[in-house]
Amino acid sequence: MTKRSASGLSRRGILAAPLVLGMPSVIGRAFAQTEPLRFGVADPLTGPSAIFGLDQMQAVRWAVEDINSAGGVHGRKLEAIIVDHQAKPDVGIAVVTRLLQVDKVPTFITAFSNVVKAVAPIANREKALMLSVGANSPDIKNLGDYVYTTFPLADVDMRALGSWLYKSQNKRRAAVLYVNHETGTEGAKVFSAAFKEAGGEVVLNESYEEQRSDFTGLVLKVRAANPDIVHIHSVISDFTAIVAQMRQLGLNTQVTSFQTAFNPKMIQELGKASEGIIVTAMAPSAEDNANVPKYLERWQAAYKREPIGLPYTQYFHDAPYILAALFKHVLDQKQAVTGENLRKALLAIKTFDLPLTNRITFNDDHTVNAPTYFWQVKDGKFQVVGKL
C-alpha cells in the first residue's frame, strides 16, 4: 500500500502530471482561462481508515484524468488538491482550513461522518461548496447551506435492509452488533428502527469499542439470544474477527452488514466462512450500469484486485463529474468561479447523469436518493441478490 501511495499521490503534483500529456486543444486563450479549475479532496490516506481512502483517491484520479483527456471544461483542466484528514476531526479542521484559506479552492469533496461534521462550519463560513461523498451519518442533512451529500445517507440503505430482510428473506429476530463510534451507532439505530417497523423483533443490541479483537462473550450472547439474522455495523477488521469467531463457535446464522464490508480482503481472511454474508450497496451493479464492468477491469489491470469498498469508490469517481458540470455552468454564465456560484449552479442543475452511479437528483434537504442493492458472497465472490 505504501509503495503504491508513495509513488502515487503527492500533495498536488500528481493530478497535474497527466494534465501535461493531454494539453488543451484551445491554447490560444488568455492565461486566466487556461488556468486549471481547482478543487479540494480531503480523505483519510493514513490511519485505520486509509484502506478506504486510498482506493477512493485512485477513483478520483482516474475520473480527473478521463475528464481532462476528453478536453476538460471549456478547455480548462480540472485539478484536484488532495489532502489527508486521517478520519480525525481535528486533523480535518486543519487540512480543510488550509484547502480553503491557503490553496483557495472554491469547492471540496470529503467523506467520513465525524470529519464531515467537524469541517461543515468552515465550509459555511467560507462559503465554499462542500460535497460529502460517503459519509453515512443521517445528521449530515442538517449541517448548513453549503454542505451537500452526493451519497445516499445511512437511513436509505439501512431502512431498505431492515424491511427487505423481513419481507423478502422472512427474517423475524435480529441481533444488532455495532462499533461504538459515529457510523456504527447511527447505522445500527436506523437498521433496528426499520426492522422493528417492518414487524421484526430486535433480540439483542450490543456495541463494542473500536480495535477490539476478542468477541467471545459477544458471540455467545448472540448465540443465547437465538436470532435468525445478525446485523454487524462495523469497521472492517472487527467485522471479519466477529464473523470468524461466530462461525468457529458453531453459530451459522445469516450475517448482514453495510458497504464497508464490501471488501475482497474480508472474503480472503474468512475463506469459506464468508459464504452467504449479505452487504448493502447504494451504487449500481453491472446489471444496471454499463460502465461498471469496465471500471472493475481497470482495477484488475492496475492492481489485480477489486477496489475496497466498491460502492464508495463509484461515488468518489463520479464526484469530479458533478464538479465539472458545476464549473461548466458557472463558466457558461460568465460568472466568477466561487463557492457561492457553484452552489447556485448545483441548485440550478439539480439532476446529474453520472458514469458509475447513474442519475442523481439533489433533494431540497441536501440529500440524494438511490436504490439499495443487496450483494451476497457466493463461491468467494460478491453477487447481486436483490434491489429495493
Binding site: T46, S207, L218, L220, A224, Q248, G271
Partner: protein, 316 residues
C-alpha cells in the same frame, strides 16, 4: 440472558484461551516493572516490533510458523535489550524523574507505531491470510486448534519462566536484583546484566502473545497501544505491583471477567469498569500497593536509584 451450563462451559473455555495473550502481556509488563523498576509503556512499541517482524517472516519470506515466530522473537529481544541499554540505563544513571520515563516510554511506543505505519501502511493486517482455525466439539463445547495452541504455548512459557526464576542462577539473580539492586551488586551480581535479561524474557512473552493475536484477528499498528497495553497495566496493578505471576493471573481474570460480565453489563460500559478499577485500586488502597514495595526495603521510584545515604544505611 440465562446462564446455562453449556454456555458457562463454552464461555470459560474460549475465554480462558483468549485470555492467554493478555496473561503473557501482563507477565511481560510486571516483570519489567519488578526487575527494571520501570512502567514500560514502550512495551506497546516492542509488541509492534514483534508483530511486524513476524509479518515479514510469514508474509514476505514465506517461513513456516516455528522459524517465523523464532525470528520474530529474536528481533524483539534485540529491540528490547537495545531499549534497556541505550534508553533506560542512561535515564537511570541520570536519576531521571517518573515523568521523564513516562514520556520516553510513551514516545518510544508512538515512534515505533509511526515507523510501522510508514513501512507497512496503516491498514489492518493478520499474520496469515486466513484467520479460521479448525474446530471440534468436546461434549457441548467447541474447541478450536487456536485455543489448544494458545493454551499450551502459554502454559509452557509461564512454566519455563517460573523454572527460570526459581531454579537457575541467572533467574535467582534477577529476583535478587529486583529486591535489593545495590545489595545484589555488592554480592557480585551484575545489575545491568539482570536488567537486560528481564527485557529479553519480556520480549519472548510479548512475541508469543502477538503471535496468538495475529493468528486470530487483524490488528492495526496502533492496536497494541490503544488496546492491549492498558490491560497489562491494570493486571499489573491488580496483581499487586511486584508480584509477577499474580499479574499474569490478574490478566486471565480480567479477560474472563470481560467475557462473563457481558452477560450482565452492556459491553460499552465494561471498559469504564476497568478505568474505574485503576483509579479506585490506586487511590483507595495505596497502602496495599505500597506494602509490596515496602517489603523490598526502602521504597524507591521506578527507575530511580536511592540516594547514596540509603545504600550506606543498608550496607551497614
Amino acid at each position: 440472558m440465562d446462564l446455562t451450563l453449556d454456555l458457562a462451559a463454552q464461555l470459560t473455555w474460549t475465554g480462558l484461551a483468549s485470555s492467554s495473550s493478555y496473561c503473557l502481556f501482563a507477565l511481560a509488563f510486571a516483570l519489567v516493572l519488578k526487575v527494571n523498576r520501570i512502567w514500560n509503556f514502550a512495551q506497546a512499541g516492542l509488541m509492534v516490533v514483534a508483530y511486524f517482524a513476524m509479518f515479514i517472516a510469514f508474509r514476505w519470506l514465506g517461513l513456516s510458523p516455528l522459524p517465523g515466530a523464532i525470528l520474530g522473537a529474536i528481533t524483539t529481544i534485540l529491540a528490547a535489550m537495545a531499549l534497556e541499554y541505550w534508553g533506560f540505563r542512561i535515564l537511570r544513571q541520570r536519576n531521571s524523574s517518573v515523568l521523564t520515563f513516562f514520556i520516553f516510554t510513551i514516545a518510544m511506543s508512538q515512534f515505533l507505531i509511526y515507523m510501522a505505519e510508514l513501512i507497512f501502511g496503516t491498514d489492518p493486517k493478520t499474520l496469515f491470510p486466513s484467520i479460521i482455525a479448525p474446530v471440534r466439539f468436546v461434549g457441548p463445547v467447541v474447541v478450536s486448534d487456536w485455543d489448544l495452541i494458545a493454551l499450551s504455548l502459554t502454559v509452557t512459557l509461564v512454566g519455563a519462566l517460573w523454572l527460570f526464576l526459581r531454579k537457575t542462577r541467572e533467574g535467582k539473580a534477577l529476583i535478587a536484583v529486583s529486591d535489593e539492586p545495590d545489595l545484589a551488586e555488592m554480592y557480585g551480581m551484575n545489575k545491568d546484566r539482570a536488567y537486560l535479561v528481564s527485557m529479553a524474557l519480556a520480549a519472548i512473552l510479548m512475541s508469543a502473545g502477538m503471535y496468538l493475536i495475529g493468528t486470530k484477528a487483524a490488528i492495526f499498528p496502533s492496536t497494541p497501544l490503544s488496546q492491549f497495553m492498558i490491560f497489562a497495566v491494570i493486571a499489573t496493578i491488580i496483581g499487586g505491583i511486584g508480584n509477577i505471576f499474580a499479574a499474569g493471573i490478574a490478566g486471565i481474570f480480567l479477560a474472563l471477567l470481560q467475557s462473563y460480565s457481558i452477560l450482565v453489563i452492556a459491553s460499552k460500559w465494561q471498559i469504564l469498569l476497568l478505568y474505574i478499577l485503576i483509579f479506585v485500586v490506586i487511590i483507595l488502597f495505596p497502602q496495599g500497593v505500597k506494602l509490596k514495595l515496602g517489603k523490598r526495603g526502602p521504597a524507591r521510584k521506578a527507575g530511580q536509584l536511592p540516594p547514596a545515604d540509603d545504600v550506606a544505611e543498608k550496607a551497614s
